[in-house]
Every structure is written in structure tokens, then in C-alpha cells.
Symmetry: C2
Subunit: 414 residues, 2 copies
Amino acid sequence: MALLVAKFGGTSVGDIERIKHAASKVAQEVRRGNKVVVVVSAMAGVTDQLIGYCRSVNPRHNPREHDSVVSTGEQVSSGLMALALEQRGLNARSWLGWQLPIVTDSDYNKARILSIDITHLHARLEKGEVAVLAGFQGVTEDGLNITTLGRGGSDTSAVALAAALSADRCDIYTDVDGVYTADPRIVAQSNRLSRVSYEEMLELAALGAKVLQTRSVEMGMRYNIPIQVLSTFGNTVGSDMPGTLVTQEDETMENSPVTGIAHSLGDAKVTLANVPDKPGIAALIFGTLARAGINVGMIVQTASGKDQTTDVTFTVSRGDIERVIEIANADRDKIGFTDIQADKNVAKISLVGLGMRSRPGVAALMFETLAEKGINIQVVETSEINISVLIAQEYHELAVRALHAAFSLDQQEA
Amino acid sequence: MALLVAKFGGTSVGDIERIKHAASKVAQEVRRGNKVVVVVSAMAGVTDQLIGYCRSVNPRHNPREHDSVVSTGEQVSSGLMALALEQRGLNARSWLGWQLPIVTDSDYNKARILSIDITHLHARLEKGEVAVLAGFQGVTEDGLNITTLGRGGSDTSAVALAAALSADRCDIYTDVDGVYTADPRIVAQSNRLSRVSYEEMLELAALGAKVLQTRSVEMGMRYNIPIQVLSTFGNTVGSDMPGTLVTQEDETMENSPVTGIAHSLGDAKVTLANVPDKPGIAALIFGTLARAGINVGMIVQTASGKDQTTDVTFTVSRGDIERVIEIANADRDKIGFTDIQADKNVAKISLVGLGMRSRPGVAALMFETLAEKGINIQVVETSEINISVLIAQEYHELAVRALHAAFSLDQQEA
């Protein structure tokens, strides 16, 4: 008998029939003798609708009221899930963030969990009751204000609750059946990973794989909670171990230097041309962007030429590009660049793998493979377990497929 | 400067534009120097949609989960109203039932308010903040469960809050501009009452006038809170005193024996024929119905005939009629009736007025007026300040118009 947290995303509770189907998955786990705590997202589309209402009423953002309005999506689905579980003969009860409580800081819209009180849950789990927690939400320390954890925050709610309960596993039911070596829509030969380490999952999530929210993986790693990613729409339940288990590194993971390939079309490239090559300029550029709340990704600076100037290239989210140009132009005299170029037609391709640490030559094989296909590398960035390159967007499918084959990730013919 | 509670119903906050319009009414009151606490219903249609979701997931009713789901309607509109007020330059903040808290009993779906903590509100009103309370909801004494106050409960929230705050007045903004001497859709000559007593309003509300929830009028009477009913869609605001003021009886009210005429098409008539005329039979019939949660309205029993039997006639809600027949038939042998007749095509017409107490002849004039039009009276019921008759539904407009004229309620030509 195990204690499981089972989280269902927005498409998994997207309508009444799907809520009933998700309830059937929970019922299966209970029949196996497991204790289950369910965490639910809002029904697909509801959160966007509520955000739209807020914007229509008042274009100026009020984070507190926004969270109070938006958190109702999960409040509705948690009550409906409890009803659906009762319909299946289970004893169930919904819990809102303030009811447990899940205490967070007061950083509305992207609050961080400070503590979870599991007293109530524990007593009721012992009596065989299934708890259904509204994901994505918490309450401030004074108990008076609803907070939300940011987009995808229900994953974080689930893993945090699993950690607080010392659960045996956190099952994330979603609309894909696991984490793949590459996006299956691009690489037909991609393989589902049966296991992946927290570290690799973190890189994959940060680099574009949208299966899990980065914070939830971080939390799983910190508290060592195995996270099982699996499809709501398949026939098996969590304990059958389909999908992908995100867990601690083990030896069997190092068979290949590369575990998976992520890609992202969310970035844009900005180049400031002919920046004077003197101390303090980089601090000026990136300090200003940071204060404006703009995250900068890759950064590369060319070697200084005869004229003592350099080109500074960096990536930002595509949505930030207009603001970045505006901010840079406002500081044009201070920075001293002659020209600013922006390019939205770029893709970031990343190889991720723990095995990379001990296998030299990964970068070389990556560059060779891309060169063979005539793909120019615009920017390179590396960490201990990932190598990312920025290329022209039009090549991104070709690049992912070529790298998938080159690193022997292609599915073996049966 | 006054302290006002302003409540906006579902149609008054039915969409984003209407919420903005309602906010403009509040802003006008604040500009006049008044302190305002706003109470909102759910956006029109939302509550029914949420109830529909609950029923679809699980036809068996779970009152606790139902309240948690359904209360989100007011949570959304309270946040949106706070945002709309901020957009108008006011300092505003939403409050949910559990946040104040508004403590209720645990009778989910129709909870009664036990206490309202106004500590937070008071401090913030002093600082000029407009509080926006989600109507219709409260929290159980242990602070753990959301309750709702029953249909139309936002009126009750508003008047209860006005009482707790010792407000100068409670303004109920709705889609009609007040209480009329009769339904203006039936009687073109009907007059808006500028004042009506709590007692009369209670009778009018109970007898079919849907302007205010009965419980809110009771509460206004108990705590002596003047309730102003006025239209959201007119050009005036509460302090201009349009609409109808529900308040304590005063002398000017007694000009006419009849203040208003209510009618209801919500009832059905049931007759049990040839019931043995012996003690305990009425207790048996109505006791069984009461235990089944069925409210019985008018009751009349004919004089016993030679055969020592009587006909028992009573009214129930039309929606209950099938269950009533089922229950009566199950007890047919015990009760001993020979036949059961049900008639949904009935209307209840009621004259209401404090003046009735001191003016004899009201019933006589009522009966004469109806007789002149050839309208048969099926059942009569009287209280100190009302006379109600049950007639065939097809005559109801004719009856209301004829009585309106007979009791000199028709508008005077200018």
C-alpha cells in the first residue's frame, strides 16, 4: 500500500466527461489499496477566460484581485472532482489552499510555498477519505489573501504536497504519456524515456519540454519525490509504471551521453552592433534589462576588433522584444552602440544528458552534424549537462531529427 | 456623510460593461462623501451553470461541495468589481465570506448567518477604502467550509452587513426601479411605491413580488435598516431617493387600506376528496409532507357532509406536485381519501396593506370586484395585513387589473 499524490492537468479535467474519467483513474488506485490525494488544475480554458475578464475590467494589473478571481478555476474543478469520486462510491472532500492551509509568501501571481499544514489531511486519509486539493493556490501568512503559484503551478502544488505528506510518488496525469527523447511531432523515431533524472528533467523543462513545470521538478529533487508523468487518456494507472519516472540519477542512465533533445521557438535574438569594448558596458546593458524584469537567455560577445568595439548578442523571450528595443534605444548614447538588430526567426536546440559530463566530444559531434546539414550556428551555450545552440528557425525540425539520429536516440526497429 | 451598503444583483453585474457601469454608481456615492461597502451577486447565469456542472458530475447532491463550487460565482464578480472600482480611481478590495469572516451555521445551501466580524472592514473604511463583499456566502464556525445562503442570498448578505456596520441605508440595485402597487407588465396604471413598510414588503415578497428576498426584509426589519430598492440602469444613485424605500411604518402609509397587489403563478392546488372527518387526519397528511420537505401554502377543508367525510384542499409549489401525489397515494389507505385531484392552472392574488387592519370591508370589496368579472374564488386565506385568493390562472391579469382599480391604486392622470 502506498500513499500517492495524483495531479490532473487542465485537459484531463477539461469537461464533465473527462472529470469522470480522471475519477475512474483515482478509483483504480484506491481499489489497489493505495491512499490517494488528488490535485486538480482548472478546466482547460477557464484560467484564460478569467484572466481576460480581469484585463477587460481594468487593464492595470492588481495582483491580489487577479489571484482571487483566477483561483476560482481550481476551486470549481476540485469540488467537481470530489463529486465525481463520490459518484464512484469513494469518500471524498475538496480542499482549497486556505483551508489546509498552504501558506505562501505574498508575491501574488507567482507566490512561493512556505509551509503546508497536513494535520487535517492526515486524519482524513487514515479514515480512507480521498482528499482533492485545488492546485495552483495558497494563502498569505495572515490567512487573509488568496495567492496563486504562477502558470503551471498545480504541478508545484502536487509535488509540494507529496513532499509534505512524505508520499511514495507523485503522479502527474497529463495529455502526453511521458517525456520523450525529442518532440514526437518532429521526430517519429523518438523514444519515451522510462526514467529520467531530476537534473536532466530540469534542463529539458527549462529548455522547452513543456511536460512539467520547472519549479515542481526542483521541488521533487530537493525532497526526493519520484514524479511519474503519464497520460490520463491511456488505460493504465500510475502503479503500472508507464510514462516517465523522474527520479534520482542511477547508473543505468549513463548508457548514452545524451538523454534527450529539447527545442524552443520562444526566443528572439538581439544584437547590439559596435559597442565600445570597455568595462561596465555589459553591466549597463543587462542591468537595465534585469531591472525591467526581462530575462536574458544566451549571451555572446564577439572579440574586439581594431576599432575597439564589439557586437553583443543575446536572447530574450519573443514577447519581450519590443520592450528590449525600446529600453536599449533609450540608453543608446550611454551604451554607445551604432545599430540594433532583432531576429525572431530563431530556434534553440539543446542536447541534455548526465552522461555528457564524462563523455567528451558531444559538442564536436553536435557541430559536425549541423554543419553536414548546412545549418549555421549563431550562438552556443553550455552547462555541465546541456549544450544549446541558436539556429535559424526554419531548420529546427531538420536539426532535431539529425541530432536525434547522430546521438543514437532513434528507436530501434523491432 | 453616510455609511451605505450597495448591493448589485446578477443582471447588474451580468457582463464586463455592466460591472463597469455599476462601479460608476459606487463612484458617484463616494464622490458625495459617502463611505460605501459593495455586495455583489454572481454574473447572471453563472450560478445556474455551476449548479448544472455539479448535477452532471453527480446527480446525488453533496451540499458541502455544491457550496464550494457555486460560491465561486460571487468570488469572481467581487474581484472584478474591485478592479472596476480601481479603474475609476477608487481604492477597493474584495472580501470573501471566509475572509471577513461571515460565520454561518452548517446548513449548507441555505445557511443562516450567525455573526459578521467587521473589524477589518471598519479599519479600511476609515482609510477611505471601498470594500467589495462576495454575496451569498459564508463560512462554518470551524472556519473550514464555505457555505451559501440560498437563492437570492446576496440580498441577505447586504442587509446583514448593513446591520453589522450600523449602516445608514442598504441600497439594492436591481433591474427594476422599485416596488410597484402591482406588476407593471400587467397593470399599466401601476404606481411605484416611494415607501413601503417592512411588514408589507415581507408579505409582498412572500406572495410573489420578486424584488427582494424575504429573509433580507426580515433582517432589515429586525435591525431597522432602511432598504432602498433602485434600478442599476437608471441615471440616479441611492442618495437621490428614487426607487422604493423599505422602512418602518409611518402615518402617511395608511392613506389607503391596500398598498399593493401581489400575484403568483408558482402554486398548484391539490384536493383530497372524501377524507374521513376525524381527528389526526390533517396531522397525518401535512406531517408527512413536512417531513418530505414540502412547503404547504393555503389549506382549506370543507364542512363535513352527511357521510362524515370532507374534502381537503391545499396549495404547494408547482415543482413539488408530482412528489405530493406520490406521497399521498402511498398513504392513501391510512388517510382514507377516495380521489386526488391536482390543478396547476391556478393563480394566487393577494392584497397587502397595513391599512387593512383598521379598515373593514376590504375582503368584501375584493370578493365583489372578482364576482363582477365572473371570477370564481377557489380558496381564501387572510392574515392581519393580507387577503389572498386562489383563482383560475387564466383570469389572473384581469383580476389584478380589476382589483387595482377597485382599491384606487390606479395612477392619476396628470
